[in-house]
Chain length 208, copies 4
């Protein structure tokens, strides 16, 4: 038993610090999304009606706030599950994480852009590309950890495939969303509703 | 004894990462409240009197700063007590937490809105709705954890009822505040003084 | 030995979460100080000379940035030393901490104010009052913990007095700074150089 | 075995809190870099072309965003490796860290400055000086810890020299970059590509 505790403690030390940076950057990025929502200087005379009208005009911005918040939470959750099983890290893994975090920290900007110009394809494409890179780098992160023996469990063929599908599913949704911008930029982010399907997949594989 | 330590360590691992995100988003949201307070460009000639007058004109903003800070601290404290007793988490619990955090991270915006337009009912209602959702989701969070066997202690009928009262008490105060906006928007947030009563309740049940 | 470890683990659980909030709010407040420094829109034609002149005009703001950063670090350090010895917390201690953090999170605003209007007594007084409250609440925090048996060590009369002197020293410096504003607002913050003396005191008492 | 665990736990307590502040300030500074990127108010009529043109005009700002993010990650990584081996801290070490963090938290400002005025030598020099101080203070931090017996391992002459080279390498690159500003301010930051060489050095010495 004692050696098991020791093992646990050791594992904590080795990946602990990366997780702290990851958690910090996610928490801050998610909270900075709110800066996208600005209280206006309503010209006098200020009335209840004017404030309500303004709040209604913010609906697209509330929508992207919620969308980005949920998407970042999904990525954080996936990272959470992954690091649960990673027993050590190496230089490459850390650098994959750093580049990944660079795109995570960019989300408040993409969200602002799409909150302001969501009806334009260029803005939506920028947002979807941002999410695509977060998704694909998360995949490479997992792929690298699994294939370089940094993971603490044996992967069955089945659970390997299921995890791969989840990891590739997210950037696929971003790619789908990019495609949808050619039809309707404003509705393109509906593609991310597909996450609901992946959640289901995630449940079959019992991850605590 | 050893198995108890192991149990402790295991518990830490399983809920540890959610707590980190929760703590991060609370800390950042609470600190971003200060961005509500802006240093003005006082037109020249700047005088001590002008600065003092400006600081006095900020009093409503200092008030909402303090109010939001305290309310977020109350919600954080409740979460603190709750997670003390939660031995494991599942997918649903995590998603309840994410939606909860989405409303927590929105508080700096609501606070700004009410700091700028606190004498208007619409602004105050938005603030109270924000707090109401934080309160009611915290209740569902607790309710779900208790009823899905994720909590580490046996709940007596009495302590269950006391906790439920605390959890339902906070959104009730928000509902009361919403009602008060029909009488006086500016004074409606006085409803939250009722927290003092719930604190008393909280003390009868000995929570470390 | 085992029971000692258990004790250690238990202690971590009980005060761990407050420390996380404290560390978060300190880290964010200290980093938000930088928002006080804004990159200007220099009117064209932009020249090296214009940028250099602008950077020199920022010197008072760099000064308050450094001062506030150091002061917050001092308060954080004191809290660090203190929580090292606190074995448990109670409701009152948590609420003293919350009010304390409210004043900590206010520092970026005070710093901005004094960075903009540092030659005016009113602005400096606001800053010194802010620091005074942080100092005096930290004292009450310590005083409460020691007198309510929440501390893990026995305090000798001598070490008790030394700690009390350190805790009362910081708000005394703020009071001195307030007095100095009547002579020269811009130089009043020199009073905080007195921290160097308290550091010396801190070294006689072997902590950590 | 038990005493080893105890030792591990003890070590965590003693340097744990500084690491938290370091991680916090790094995470926040890295995320605040994004505030350098602002969504513009494009004059109507807004078109896809106008948005794309604007995004292209942001390329220098994306570049400094990426550069600063990577550089901060490098410094954080070095600190990560270092604290892995530090068994205790003292007053001086903490104060070196605080001054170091003061320069770390300044990076969002330097980045903004260089993002706005990167073609001017004065702005680039400011940025390189900021990075130089971060690098040289990190060196002193390491130097102090090693020479005051705060490190948990014996340093061989060879590994001591290798570490020293890494620590001195980073400020050397900043010095080189300063020199390059006399030739071309805009390209001076290319000097930091030299990090790739130091990474190689870092790999020879097996640091987990």
């Amino acid at each position: 038993v004692s050696s098991e505790i020791k093992e646990n403690l050791k594992r904590r030390f080795t990946t602990n610090r990366i997780e702290t940076l990851v958690d910090g950057i996610f928490a801050i990025s998610m909270t900075l999304l709110v800066l996208n929502l600005q209280v206006p200087q309503i010209p006098s005379p200020v009335t209840n009606i004017a404030i309500i009208q303004y709040l209604f005009s913010l609906i697209p911005k509330f929508y992207v706030y919620g969308l980005s918040f949920i998407l970042l939470a999904v990525f954080w959750r996936i990272n959470h599950q992954e690091f649960h099983r990673i027993k050590k890290s190496d230089n490459t893994l850390i650098w994959i994480n750093v580049v990944w975090l660079m795109f995570v920290a960019l989300v408040p900007f993409s969200t602002s852009l799409v909150g302001e110009y969501g009806e334009f394809q260029s803005a939506e494409l920028f947002f979807h590309f941002n999410m695509f890179f977060i998704g694909i780098i998360a995949f490479f992160n997992w792929h690298y950890a699994v294939n370089h023996n940094l993971s603490s469990i044996k992967w069955s063929k089945k659970s390997y495939n299921q995890s791969r599908n989840i990891y590739l599913g997210l950037p696929s949704l971003s790619a789908l969303a990019m495609g949808l911008t050619f039809i309707s930029p404003s509705w393109s982010s509906m593609a991310y509703l597909g996450i609901y399907l992946f959640k289901k997949l995630g449940k079959t594989e019992k991850i605590e």
